[in-house]
Protein backbone atom coordinates (compact mmCIF):
# COMPACT_ATOMS: atom_id res chain seq x y z
CA UNK A 1 0.00 0.00 0.00
CA UNK A 2 1.19 3.46 -0.83
CA UNK A 3 -0.25 6.83 0.03
CA UNK A 4 -0.72 8.94 -3.10
CA UNK A 5 0.76 12.41 -3.21
CA UNK A 6 -0.92 14.79 -5.64
CA UNK A 7 0.48 17.93 -7.14
CA UNK A 8 -1.67 21.01 -7.46
CA UNK A 9 0.35 23.83 -9.03
CA UNK A 10 3.25 24.42 -6.66
CA UNK A 11 1.64 22.66 -3.71
CA UNK A 12 1.63 18.97 -2.86
CA UNK A 13 -1.50 17.41 -1.42
CA UNK A 14 -1.79 14.17 0.43
CA UNK A 15 -4.04 12.60 3.00
CA UNK A 16 -3.93 9.73 5.43
CA UNK A 17 -7.20 7.91 4.83
CA UNK A 18 -6.89 4.94 7.15
CA UNK A 19 -5.27 3.71 10.31
CA UNK A 20 -1.79 2.87 9.03
CA UNK A 21 1.13 1.00 10.56
CA UNK A 22 4.37 2.68 11.65
CA UNK A 23 6.42 1.67 8.62
CA UNK A 24 3.88 3.24 6.27
CA UNK A 25 4.05 6.48 8.25
CA UNK A 26 7.81 6.39 7.79
CA UNK A 27 7.38 5.71 4.04
CA UNK A 28 5.06 8.67 3.72
CA UNK A 29 7.67 10.88 5.34
CA UNK A 30 10.39 9.80 2.89
CA UNK A 31 8.20 10.07 -0.17
CA UNK A 32 6.95 13.53 0.87
CA UNK A 33 10.47 14.83 1.32
CA UNK A 34 11.53 13.17 -1.95
CA UNK A 35 8.63 14.72 -3.83
CA UNK A 36 9.41 18.14 -2.37
CA UNK A 37 12.92 17.87 -3.68
CA UNK A 38 11.88 16.63 -7.12
CA UNK A 39 9.02 19.05 -7.70
CA UNK A 40 10.31 22.14 -5.93
CA UNK A 41 6.85 22.54 -4.42
CA UNK A 42 6.49 25.38 -1.92
CA UNK A 43 4.91 23.06 0.58
CA UNK A 44 2.72 20.12 1.44
CA UNK A 45 -0.80 20.04 2.77
CA UNK A 46 -1.35 16.82 4.68
CA UNK A 47 -4.99 16.12 5.42
CA UNK A 48 -5.74 13.91 8.42
CA UNK A 49 -9.53 14.23 8.51
CA UNK A 50 -10.06 10.48 8.59
CA UNK A 51 -7.24 9.73 10.99
CA UNK A 52 -8.51 9.12 14.48
CA UNK A 53 -5.57 7.67 16.32
CA UNK A 54 -2.49 9.85 16.65
CA UNK A 55 -0.21 8.33 19.23
CA UNK A 56 3.19 9.60 20.33
CA UNK A 57 4.91 7.86 17.43
CA UNK A 58 2.67 9.37 14.77
CA UNK A 59 2.90 12.76 16.51
CA UNK A 60 6.68 12.57 16.49
CA UNK A 61 6.91 11.58 12.83
CA UNK A 62 4.54 14.40 11.84
CA UNK A 63 6.56 16.94 13.84
CA UNK A 64 9.81 15.68 12.42
CA UNK A 65 8.48 15.70 8.86
CA UNK A 66 7.49 19.35 9.28
CA UNK A 67 10.92 20.19 10.73
CA UNK A 68 12.70 18.36 7.89
CA UNK A 69 10.61 20.07 5.23
CA UNK A 70 11.41 23.41 6.84
CA UNK A 71 15.12 22.63 6.76
CA UNK A 72 14.75 22.00 3.06
CA UNK A 73 13.05 25.39 2.69
CA UNK A 74 9.52 24.09 2.41
CA UNK A 75 6.49 23.84 4.68
CA UNK A 76 4.04 21.22 5.89
CA UNK A 77 0.51 22.20 6.86
CA UNK A 78 -1.64 19.59 8.60
CA UNK A 79 -5.36 19.95 8.06
CA UNK A 80 -8.60 18.49 9.32
CA UNK A 81 -7.62 17.22 12.74
CA UNK A 82 -10.57 15.54 14.40
CA UNK A 83 -11.48 17.39 17.65
CA UNK A 84 -11.30 14.15 19.64
CA UNK A 85 -7.79 13.57 18.38
CA UNK A 86 -6.87 17.06 19.54
CA UNK A 87 -8.33 16.27 22.98
CA UNK A 88 -6.36 13.02 23.16
CA UNK A 89 -3.08 14.62 22.10
CA UNK A 90 -3.34 17.40 24.66
CA UNK A 91 -4.35 14.99 27.44
CA UNK A 92 -1.34 12.87 26.64
CA UNK A 93 0.84 15.91 27.08
CA UNK A 94 1.70 15.91 23.45
CA UNK A 95 1.20 18.67 20.98
CA UNK A 96 2.36 18.77 17.41
CA UNK A 97 5.28 21.05 18.11
CA UNK A 98 6.05 23.61 15.48
CA UNK A 99 3.51 22.29 13.09
CA UNK A 100 1.29 24.60 11.12
CA UNK A 101 -2.30 23.40 11.13
CA UNK A 102 -5.54 24.49 9.52
CA UNK A 103 -9.13 23.40 9.94
CA UNK A 104 -9.79 22.46 6.35
CA UNK A 105 -7.83 21.50 3.27
CA UNK A 106 -8.80 24.74 1.59
CA UNK A 107 -7.61 26.84 4.53
CA UNK A 108 -4.43 24.78 4.58
CA UNK A 109 -3.58 25.68 1.01
CA UNK A 110 -4.32 29.34 1.73
CA UNK A 111 -2.17 29.28 4.85
CA UNK A 112 0.68 27.77 2.91
CA UNK A 113 0.50 30.46 0.27
CA UNK A 114 0.17 33.19 2.89
CA UNK A 115 3.21 31.94 4.79
CA UNK A 116 5.16 31.97 1.64
CA UNK A 117 4.27 35.54 0.90
CA UNK A 118 5.27 36.51 4.45
CA UNK A 119 8.71 35.04 4.07
CA UNK A 120 8.97 36.78 0.72
CA UNK A 121 9.98 33.73 -1.24
CA UNK A 122 10.71 34.75 -4.78
CA UNK A 123 9.87 31.36 -6.23
CA UNK A 124 6.24 31.77 -5.25
CA UNK A 125 5.94 35.10 -6.95
CA UNK A 126 7.98 34.65 -10.09
CA UNK A 127 4.81 34.89 -12.08
CA UNK A 128 5.57 32.01 -14.40
CA UNK A 129 2.68 29.94 -13.12
CA UNK A 130 0.40 32.74 -12.03
CA UNK A 131 -0.43 34.34 -15.32
CA UNK A 132 -3.36 32.19 -16.41
Amino acid sequence: MRIPILRLGNVLLTSIQADIPDDLVQDLQSSLLGQLERTGAIGVVLDITSLDVIDSYMARVLSETAAMARLMGSEVVITGMNPMVAVTLIEMGRSLEQITTALTLEQGVEKLKARLNETGSSSAGDGAHDRS
Binding site: V53, S56, R60
Partner: protein, 141 residues
Amino acid sequence: MTDRDQAPPASGIELRRSEDIVLARQTGRDWACRLGFRMVDQIRLATAISEIARNAVRYGGGGQCEITTTTTPLFCEISIVITDHGPGIPDVEQAMTPGFSTGNSLGMGLSGARRLVDRMTLVSRPGLTTVTLVMRRSVHP
Protein backbone atom coordinates in the same frame (compact mmCIF):
# COMPACT_ATOMS: atom_id res chain seq x y z
CA MET B 1 -17.23 0.95 13.24
CA THR B 2 -18.36 -2.34 14.59
CA ASP B 3 -22.05 -3.02 14.55
CA ARG B 4 -23.02 -4.11 18.02
CA ASP B 5 -24.98 -7.04 16.64
CA GLN B 6 -22.03 -8.49 14.81
CA ALA B 7 -19.81 -11.23 16.15
CA PRO B 8 -17.57 -9.99 18.94
CA PRO B 9 -14.08 -8.80 18.02
CA ALA B 10 -11.06 -10.94 18.93
CA SER B 11 -10.06 -10.94 22.56
CA GLY B 12 -6.44 -11.99 22.10
CA ILE B 13 -3.93 -10.52 19.67
CA GLU B 14 -0.37 -11.60 19.01
CA LEU B 15 1.94 -8.59 18.85
CA ARG B 16 4.81 -9.21 16.48
CA ARG B 17 4.90 -6.56 13.78
CA SER B 18 3.75 -2.99 13.37
CA GLU B 19 0.54 -4.20 11.67
CA ASP B 20 -0.33 -5.97 14.93
CA ILE B 21 -0.18 -2.64 16.76
CA VAL B 22 -2.86 -1.37 14.36
CA LEU B 23 -4.93 -4.50 14.92
CA ALA B 24 -4.65 -4.21 18.72
CA ARG B 25 -5.77 -0.58 18.81
CA GLN B 26 -8.63 -1.21 16.39
CA THR B 27 -9.81 -4.25 18.31
CA GLY B 28 -9.70 -2.40 21.64
CA ARG B 29 -11.69 0.35 20.07
CA ASP B 30 -14.26 -2.07 18.65
CA TRP B 31 -14.79 -3.51 22.11
CA ALA B 32 -15.15 -0.05 23.62
CA CYS B 33 -17.69 0.75 20.92
CA ARG B 34 -19.66 -2.41 21.73
CA LEU B 35 -19.74 -1.40 25.37
CA GLY B 36 -21.26 1.90 24.32
CA PHE B 37 -18.29 4.06 25.24
CA ARG B 38 -18.35 7.53 23.76
CA MET B 39 -16.28 8.16 20.65
CA VAL B 40 -13.72 10.25 22.51
CA ASP B 41 -13.21 7.40 25.00
CA GLN B 42 -12.80 4.92 22.14
CA ILE B 43 -10.08 7.13 20.72
CA ARG B 44 -8.40 7.60 24.12
CA LEU B 45 -8.36 3.85 24.65
CA ALA B 46 -7.13 3.04 21.14
CA THR B 47 -4.32 5.57 21.53
CA ALA B 48 -3.25 4.16 24.91
CA ILE B 49 -3.27 0.59 23.54
CA SER B 50 -1.18 1.74 20.61
CA GLU B 51 1.52 3.13 22.91
CA ILE B 52 1.78 0.01 25.04
CA ALA B 53 1.52 -2.44 22.14
CA ARG B 54 4.32 -0.59 20.39
CA ASN B 55 6.57 -0.90 23.44
CA ALA B 56 5.93 -4.65 23.45
CA VAL B 57 6.78 -4.96 19.75
CA ARG B 58 9.79 -2.64 19.78
CA TYR B 59 11.41 -3.24 23.15
CA GLY B 60 9.88 -6.49 24.29
CA GLY B 61 10.54 -8.52 21.16
CA GLY B 62 6.81 -9.00 20.63
CA GLY B 63 4.06 -9.90 23.02
CA GLN B 64 0.41 -10.59 23.61
CA CYS B 65 -2.63 -8.38 24.06
CA GLU B 66 -5.67 -9.70 25.95
CA ILE B 67 -8.93 -7.82 26.14
CA THR B 68 -11.66 -8.52 28.68
CA THR B 69 -14.87 -6.67 29.32
CA THR B 70 -17.19 -6.57 32.30
CA THR B 71 -20.76 -5.37 32.18
CA THR B 72 -22.85 -4.78 35.29
CA PRO B 73 -26.12 -2.86 35.66
CA LEU B 74 -24.07 0.10 36.90
CA PHE B 75 -20.96 0.18 34.78
CA CYS B 76 -19.06 -1.23 31.82
CA GLU B 77 -15.38 -1.84 32.09
CA ILE B 78 -12.74 -2.79 29.59
CA SER B 79 -9.41 -4.16 30.62
CA ILE B 80 -6.43 -4.60 28.31
CA VAL B 81 -3.48 -6.65 29.43
CA ILE B 82 -0.34 -6.44 27.31
CA THR B 83 2.57 -8.70 28.14
CA ASP B 84 5.99 -9.22 26.66
CA HIS B 85 9.01 -11.35 27.50
CA GLY B 86 11.67 -8.78 26.75
CA PRO B 87 14.42 -7.44 29.01
CA GLY B 88 11.94 -5.49 31.13
CA ILE B 89 11.98 -1.91 32.37
CA PRO B 90 14.53 -1.48 35.19
CA ASP B 91 13.06 1.70 36.68
CA VAL B 92 9.31 1.79 36.16
CA GLU B 93 8.81 5.13 37.94
CA GLN B 94 11.42 6.79 35.80
CA ALA B 95 10.05 5.22 32.63
CA MET B 96 6.63 6.73 33.38
CA THR B 97 8.07 10.23 33.74
CA PRO B 98 6.97 12.38 30.80
CA GLY B 99 9.82 12.92 28.41
CA PHE B 100 11.90 10.09 29.78
CA SER B 101 13.18 8.06 26.93
CA THR B 102 15.42 5.06 26.52
CA GLY B 103 16.68 5.84 23.09
CA ASN B 104 13.29 6.33 21.56
CA SER B 105 9.80 7.25 22.63
CA LEU B 106 9.20 4.88 25.55
CA GLY B 107 8.72 7.60 28.19
CA MET B 108 6.29 9.66 26.19
CA GLY B 109 4.33 6.56 25.35
CA LEU B 110 3.94 5.28 28.89
CA SER B 111 3.17 8.59 30.57
CA GLY B 112 0.79 9.51 27.75
CA ALA B 113 -1.05 6.20 27.91
CA ARG B 114 -1.47 6.53 31.68
CA ARG B 115 -3.22 9.86 31.27
CA LEU B 116 -5.71 8.49 28.77
CA VAL B 117 -7.16 5.66 30.83
CA ASP B 118 -8.67 5.43 34.30
CA ARG B 119 -6.03 3.09 35.61
CA MET B 120 -2.74 1.82 34.32
CA THR B 121 -0.46 -0.58 36.11
CA LEU B 122 2.96 -1.69 34.99
CA VAL B 123 4.83 -4.62 36.48
CA SER B 124 8.18 -5.44 35.00
CA ARG B 125 11.06 -7.80 35.58
CA PRO B 126 13.52 -9.31 33.12
CA GLY B 127 11.52 -11.75 31.01
CA LEU B 128 8.04 -10.49 31.85
CA THR B 129 6.51 -7.06 31.55
CA THR B 130 2.78 -6.69 32.12
CA VAL B 131 0.88 -3.50 31.47
CA THR B 132 -2.80 -3.29 32.35
CA LEU B 133 -5.05 -0.53 31.07
CA VAL B 134 -8.52 -0.14 32.52
CA MET B 135 -11.34 2.13 31.45
CA ARG B 136 -14.71 2.11 33.21
CA ARG B 137 -17.84 4.07 32.39
CA SER B 138 -21.13 4.16 34.18
CA VAL B 139 -24.16 2.86 32.36
CA HIS B 140 -26.74 5.42 31.39
CA PRO B 141 -30.22 3.88 31.29
